[in-house]
């Protein structure tokens, strides 16, 4: 994971010619910790630490009314007007979360550009969304589950692959 974070940090600074105007916004919950790690990494590369934020997408999901309401967490986002916002998430799957994150972000301001960084891209997109930065592509089946573990939350870093039965999968979406 360390290497993936380091590589993404380099790619972000390369592509944006440094880290000026870059804001790292993590999608709650694990994306926030990844954004913080990326910011630390960019700090060590560039000598400046880009501002970070936390974005809760619960109120923007497209499955409201189809399952019990998800718990919400506070959104804390610095000024993003005219900035290059890098949305950070742990897993890119159907693309629906990223769609919700884009909508939530647009409600908060008008960034110059929005880029997407994910630790794992597991495929099976249902929307026309592509990540700008990918830690690792992991081919998966629909009946599989990808869990990213973050030391800050889970006690250790890592990625777990598991099988889920179809009904649980359906409920989880």
């Amino acid at each position: 994971m360390q290497r993936a974070v380091a590589r993404i940090a380099h790619e972000i600074t390369e592509r944006n010619k440094g880290a000026r105007d870059v804001v790292l916004i993590g999608v709650l919950t694990r994306g926030v910790h990844l954004a913080e790690r990326l910011a630390d990494r960019i700090d060590s590369i560039e000598g400046t630490r880009p501002p970070t934020g936390a974005l809760d997408i619960g109120l923007y999901r497209d499955d409201i009314g189809m399952r019990d309401p998800v718990a919400l967490a506070p959104t804390k986002v610095p000024n993003i007007d005219g900035k290059i916002v890098v949305l950070v998430d742990d897993v890119l799957y159907t693309g629906r979360s990223s769609r919700a994150a884009l909508d939530a972000l647009i409600d908060l301001g008008r960034p110059k550009a929005v880029q997407l960084a994910v630790l794992i891209d597991r495929g099976h997109r249902e929307l026309p969304i592509r990540a700008d930065y990918v830690g690792k592509n992991v081919p998966t089946g629909r009946n599989e589950e990808v869990r990213v573990k973050i030391a800050e939350l889970d006690g250790e870093d890592g990625v777990e692959l598991g099988r889920v039965d179809e009904t649980a999968e359906e409920a989880a979406r």
Partner: protein
């Protein structure tokens, strides 16, 4: 989450905590900055108000609109309750229009309970007679938690016309559920009958209570609900049980002054006491929108309640 909120007792401590935590997320950018979310697009909330109440209606309306629900205000004047269309007929008319939630304010205790038996929409009690005002209690709990972090062991003194007060009832049950100790303060004519069953302390001596209280909650003297005959004069009430700045000096440094509004300044609270730094009366109003947003999100953001069979 619950289908109807008729009483604060419809929630358990976990449910209350969930509402308060969700409300806090709406105030992450500051208590008075409130953004708009697309969450409840396509949902319709009807404000069915049989009693005039600009503040509660506006608070619910803002909350629903901030979540992109459509809001219809349906006001019925007091006289129409007696001779106009019955509540049941009105309920069925509204129901036929396909609404998701009905927020009801009514002068009859239990009117929301009746309504809930007649419609498949969610019913939210916005104050019924002398029964309950659960969303007021939730925003009061939220305001108290903002300052103290938790409720356990807090001493809350509720002062005034408890007998006629729906705010008092919801707050007493809510505070007890969350672990606070409640003392009711006022002359026995303003205490509810058989108050022994409420599990609270009661006293007529406000000055003995203030030094121990973490929160002093002043109730409105509700002249329209028959408070009139319960004290000789408002002047005497004010002198014996009202809060003025001098009496407020008896409070602990960190103690809060609360009031559900609208205030009868000079009766239960003087202007100088209401404007003390420890008074959180305007915070209560600001918090009302966030708490009602949280409630609407949790009650309407889940599976379509209308698909369930109504329980008679």
């Amino acid at each position: 989450m619950i289908r109807h909120l008729l009483s604060i007792k419809d929630l358990d401590p976990e449910g209350i905590e969930r509402v308060l935590a969700t409300a806090a997320t709406f105030q992450a950018d500051g208590p008075r900055i409130m953004r708009k979310y697309p969450t409840l697009r396509g949902k319709t909330v009807v404000n069915l108000f049989y009693e005039a109440s600009t503040r509660t209606r506006t608070s619910f309306e803002l909350a629903a609109k901030r979540l992109s629900a459509d809001v219809v205000n349906f006001s019925v004047s007091g006289s129409a309750v007696e001779k106009g269309e019955s509540l049941k007929d009105t309920a069925q008319t509204i129901e036929a229009m396909g609404v998701d939630a009905i927020v009801i304010r009514h002068s009859s205790s239990g009117a929301p309970n009746r309504l809930a038996g007649w419609v498949s929409a969610s019913v939210i009690n916005a104050g019924d007679g002398m029964h309950e005002h659960p969303t007021q209690a939730l925003l009061d709990l939220y305001t108290i938690r903002q300052h103290f972090g938790s409720f356990s062991g807090l001493r809350v003194a509720i002062v005034g016309d408890i007998a006629h007060s729906r705010v008092a009832r919801s707050n007493v049950w809510g505070l007890q559920m969350m672990g606070a100790d409640v003392t009711l303060v006022g002359p026995p004519t303003l205490l509810p009958p058989r108050v022994e069953g409420w599990g609270v302390e009661t006293t007529a001596d406000i000055e003995a209570v203030l030094p121990k209280a973490d929160v002093v909650y002043l109730l409105r003297m509700q002249l329209e609900r028959g408070t009139g005959a319960t004290v000789p004069t408002l002047r005497e009430y004010s002198r014996l049980w009202g809060l003025d700045a001098a009496r407020a000096t008896l409070l602990k440094d960190e103690a809060l002054i609360m009031h559900p509004g609208p205030m009868n300044r000079g009766v239960e609270i003087t202007a100088d006491a209401a404007e003390l730094p420890r008074s959180v009366i305007t915070d209560q109003v600001a918090n009302g929108v966030a708490v009602r947003m949280a409630l609407l999100y949790l009650m309407l953001g889940g599976r379509d309640a209308r698909e369930e069979v109504p329980v008679e």
